[in-house]
């Protein structure tokens, strides 16, 4: 084998070795997303407050671990309730003097959760506000289930 041919062969071999080594390195450094399954809601809290016309109220709670959260607007009572009343109900995080919601729905009171999601761990809040339908203050009953 001539010297020049030997050089070409060795060069190709070295390149292949480098490619294999580098490929292995890339493979070794690849990452996989962690699988996280939300924990079941095992803590139930309920709260009652008065919501003013055009007002907002919020309730903070602490989630121990990433898990399912369900908020239920269980009741709205007052002296002058409009037909088909719904309130804005959301889940968020306390910030400043309010609760900054990441999700909000227009909810009529009922037994089934109106707002659900997976959150935590950390401190979160439920926010309830007048959707524009209130003509007088109302008493709001709500519950939040979380992990």
């Amino acid at each position: 084998m001539s010297a020049s041919r030997l050089v070409r062969v060795l060069g190709s071999a070295a390149g292949l070795l480098c490619l294999a080594a580098c490929s292995n390195g890339a493979s070794a450094s690849s990452t996989t997303s962690p699988s996280s399954v939300p924990a079941d809601a095992t803590v139930n809290e309920s709260f009652t407050s008065t919501l003013a016309v055009g007002g907002t109220l919020f309730y903070s709670f602490s989630i121990a671990q990433y898990g399912n959260v369900a908020v239920t607007l269980t009741g709205v009572t007052g002296s002058d309730l409009p037909d088909g009343l719904s309130l804005n109900v959301g889940i968020g995080r306390p910030a400043g003097t309010t609760c900054t919601a990441s999700i909000t729905v227009a909810a009529a009171p009922g037994d089934a959760a109106q707002v659900t999601g997976s959150y935590g761990p950390g401190i979160f809040c439920v926010v309830v506000s007048d959707s524009g339908m209130l003509t007088a203050p109302v008493k709001v009953d709500a519950a939040v289930a979380h992990s």
Binding site: C18, T97, G122, I123
Partner: protein
């Protein structure tokens, strides 16, 4: 023979350098930002309380200063005592873990040298001495 051996060594060295470069890792750069300052201001009515939530992004020190108390938007500082608290939001309020009855000043009245990342709150409350509405400003410095 000597030339061939030299070439082989050069190729291996070149390959090693090439691989070394492509496999080189650098430590992730960490961006350290300075502390954040937030202001909590409002009106405290006798026999009431109010609170303000903030997020500590990186573990570190938190300091809370009741910076001003006045009875009008423009006017001298009114030296009234206010119950100042630092804690975490809970229910409809702020569950305080440290508190003090203070008057407005330049130095922080409440500090926590090592707060973990998370959401905290500062509360102001009438300690029982207020006879009129008080406009307040609280400065919160945190990481």
């Amino acid at each position: 023979m000597t030339v061939t051996r030299a070439l082989v060594l050069a190729l291996v060295a070149a390959g090693a350098i090439g691989c070394g470069k492509s496999g080189t890792t650098t430590s992730p750069s960490t961006t350290t930002s300075g502390p954040s300052t937030e202001f909590f201001n409002g009106t405290l009515t006798p026999a009431t309380s109010s609170f303000y939530s903030f997020t500590v992004t990186n573990a570190g020190a938190v300091s809370v200063t009741l910076a001003s108390t006045t009875t009008a938007k423009v006017g001298p500082v009114t030296p009234v005592g206010i119950a100042l608290g630092l804690g975490t939001p809970n229910g409809f309020g702020c569950t305080v873990s440290a508190s003090a009855d203070v008057t407005a000043g330049l130095n922080a009245q409440l500090t926590n040298a090592s707060s973990a990342a998370g959401i905290y709150c500062v509360s102001v409350a009438d300690p029982g001495d207020l006879s009129t509405d008080v406009l307040f400003v609280v400065r919160i410095v945190h990481t």
